[in-house]
């Protein structure tokens, strides 16, 4: 048995050892065995609108430059001068065809070539001029750009496995291609990064942790539909990816009510989708989804706001979080206003939900100081019985943890056996070309 996971199928019970949340050796091993091996989310193509636009951000502890070159092609560079190591770019975002290292003045183009070296006659004509370094692999799916530091990593689409279905369900919500709204939410949490992974697909905590959010929604005139709220399943998407998928029309149930005009526009948009994709797929589109793409990308389509959340481990008890909102650009002003309002009210670091999550996770981390006396956290909910687990149970977390355990220990734990989920949660996408972002 792994020292981290107690996967008892007899009782049944699933437990995670809290050492995984506090031990620096575990943290270092995660970097080597997980983050240096798999595909990791970098950013969305639509964040870069013009040639030579760039963003800088960290991936697996490495500073990266995510940009477009002068011809508009996506480029990804390690943000370190090949000369002596200083950061080439110290801005979070901008537009530059050339970047010059402020240490010794070496300049590089947005296509990564070394274009100028002060006093280059001292190097001689045979000197091999290094360009900017790239991660081993770069690829994208529906505008989501991933990188890997492992040259032998499997193709991205194979890695994403069943998660592609749920990315398509979001990408299909725009004829023009879903686009990231300018700006980011950036916040930090004094807790282990895996706690936010769990929290992002934890349906069980919603009513207790987010009580004040629900009270606000009800005070705004919404009658929460208990039947719909309970209509969800947890799905194992393969490779550690997992999702809570809501039933039809559950995508907006937690949000503040739409105006009459917003409701009409939303209905018209989805009616058009039904003509294109058919009812089964659009029923799935209209549902909520909380997805984790292993290890640290979260995509949640809930309360009308599609949040893309990147979780960066910094130390065993500290993480940084960057989040963006993905929207259909063709929406009218009223629907967009309400979407942004719901997004900020629920998801923002100053919203009525995320701060409660942060508080919960930070108290977990503080209490893990007693991990020797109280070593195990329980993640067993929904393990018993044949019934397929609902979203308020914990199959999704167990799915993610089994994959984590496999990377960390080599121990392969078999998937749980349950009845298949209802067909409405797995209806296939009609064979149409996938939507691509337009930027």
């Amino acid at each position: 048995m792994s020292q981290f996971i107690d996967d008892d199928r007899e009782m049944p019970r699933f437990r995670v050892n809290r050492k995984a949340m506090v031990d620096p050796d575990v943290f270092a091993k995660e970097r080597d065995e997980i983050f240096d091996q798999v595909w990791l989310y970098l950013g969305h193509e639509t964040e870069l609108k013009k040639p030579n636009d760039f963003k800088t951000r960290n991936v697996a502890g490495r500073p990266m430059i995510f940009g477009r070159d002068a011809k508009g092609a996506i480029q990804v560079w390690l943000n370190s001068c090949p000369h002596r190591g200083a950061m080439i770019c110290r801005e979070p975002a901008g537009n530059a065809r050339f970047m010059t290292c402020f240490y010794h003045g070496w300049s590089f183009s947005s296509s990564g070539q070394l274009v100028a070296v002060p006093g280059d006659t001292s190097y001689g004509p045979e000197f091999e001029r290094p360009g900017l370094a790239t991660p081993a692999r770069v690829d994208s799916y529906a505008g989501f750009v991933f990188i890997s530091f492992n040259p032998d990593v499997e193709p991205l689409v194979d890695y994403l496995a069943g998660a592609t279905d749920f990315i398509d369900l979001i990408a299909d919500q725009s004829e023009q291609g879903m686009q990231i709204v300018d700006g980011t939410h950036e916040y930090s949490v004094k807790a282990n990064w895996k706690l936010l992974v769990e929290n992002s697909v934890d349906g069980y905590h919603a009513v207790s942790t987010h009580q004040r959010y629900f009270e606000m929604v009800m005070a705004s005139g919404v009658e929460l539909d208990g039947a719909k709220m309970g209509q969800s399943v947890a799905l194992d998407l393969g490779n550690g990816h997992t999702v809570i998928a809501g039933g039809p029309d559950t995508g907006g149930i937690f949000g503040r009510p739409l105006s009459e005009a917003g409701t009409a526009e939303k209905k018209a948009r989805f009616d058009a989708f039904r003509d294109k994709y058919g009812d089964a797929w659009v029923d799935r589109m209209s549902g909520s989804r909380n997805m984790v793409i292993f290890p640290n990308l979260v995509i949640i389509d809930l309360v009308m706001g599609v949040v893309v959340r990147k979780i960066d481990p910094v130390s065993p008890d500290y993480m940084e979080v960057t989040a963006w909102e993905l929207v259909p650009p063709e929406e009218g002003a009223e629907l967009k206003r309400q979407r942004l309002d719901n997004f900020l009210t629920f998801w923002g670091p100053g919203g009525l939900a995320s701060p409660d999550d942060v508080e919960a996770l930070e108290t977990c981390q503080r209490s893990f100081a007693s991990h020797r006396e109280l070593p195990w956290s329980d993640v067993s909910r929904g393990m018993a019985g044949e019934q397929h687990p609902s979203g308020s149970e914990e199959l999704q977390m167990r799915t993610w943890w089994r994959r984590w355990n496999e990377f960390m220990t080599g121990e392969v734990l078999p998937p749980e056996e349950h009845l298949a989920p209802a067909a409405m949660y797995t209806a296939p996408r009609p064979s149409l070309p996938a939507q691509q972002p337009t930027a």
Partner: protein
């Protein structure tokens, strides 16, 4: 004790261009200069200030070519006539070995207007307009820029004073909205609070001095981030080897 870099006196060249002969002040540099800049003066601006700017550009490795296109005619020059002359001036810069990508254009007032018009029609390394003339107002031969410029094909920076009667804030916002989003190339509009259209001149008043200082820094940064540097002989050897697969 500070080191004083001796200033370079610009050479004066009479250049035949469309519509007449243009007097061009130019500073050429030894070694491998970084790039070239066309400086377009305010209508009937002063030579002395241009020489200061040309020296400041030389400190950053740029050869410069300065002119006041309005001197070509005793009548107000139309956009088309001025742009034809500007085309000849850019060709003159090219005769010194500078490609268009290695050339930036920086203009003030009427010159700023021409820099924006050039950026809308020609792919250059970079363009900067400081207090460009006629943002929302037309005069004969010079339509309002908000109507005349649908998009830019050269990265363009526009800088304005917030209390400039000749560039009302609404007109500047309209121009920015029109250019920043839809243009195929990146563009940026900066407005300085509390100053008029002559903010780029030295001033003892604090806001104006800050605007002058900041705007010049932005000019240099805009050029450095976008004008393609001229390769050194060793860089050319390296490029050739790369092309030949050696």
């Amino acid at each position: 004790m500070s080191t004083v870099i001796p200033s370079i006196a610009p050479a004066s060249v009479d250049l035949p261009v469309a519509g007449g002969t243009l007097t061009v002040a130019q500073i050429l540099l030894p070694g491998v200069p970084r790039g070239a800049v066309v400086l377009l003066r305010e209508e009937h601006g002063t030579d002395g200030r241009m020489a200061v700017l040309m020296n400041a550009l030389a400190e950053h490795g740029y050869e410069s070519f300065a002119a006041d296109l309005a001197t070509l005619s005793s009548e107000p020059l139309s956009d088309e006539a001025a742009l034809a002359a500007l085309g000849d001036l850019v060709a003159h810069v090219g005769s010194h070995g500078w490609t268009r990508e290695q050339t930036g254009v920086v203009g003030y007032g009427f010159g700023g207007r021409l820099a924006l018009l050039a950026a809308s029609r020609t792919q250059l390394g970079a363009a900067v307009s400081v207090s460009p003339e006629g943002v929302g107002r037309s005069t004969p031969g010079r339509p309002a820029l908000v109507d005349a410029v649908p998009a830019v094909v050269t990265p363009w920076l526009g800088m304005f004073g917030a209390v400039d009667d000749l560039a009302p804030a609404d007109d500047v916002r309209t121009l920015a909205k029109r250019l920043v989003g839809p243009s195929p190339q990146y563009s940026e509009v900066v407005t300085y609070p509390g100053v008029g259209g002559l903010f780029f001149h030295e001033s003892a008043e604090a806001l104006a001095h800050a605007a002058m200082f900041d705007s010049w820094q932005r000019v240099v940064e805009w050029l450095n981030l976008r004008v393609v540097p001229r390769p050194t002989p060793y860089a050319e050897i390296w490029s050739l080897k790369q092309a030949l697969g050696e």
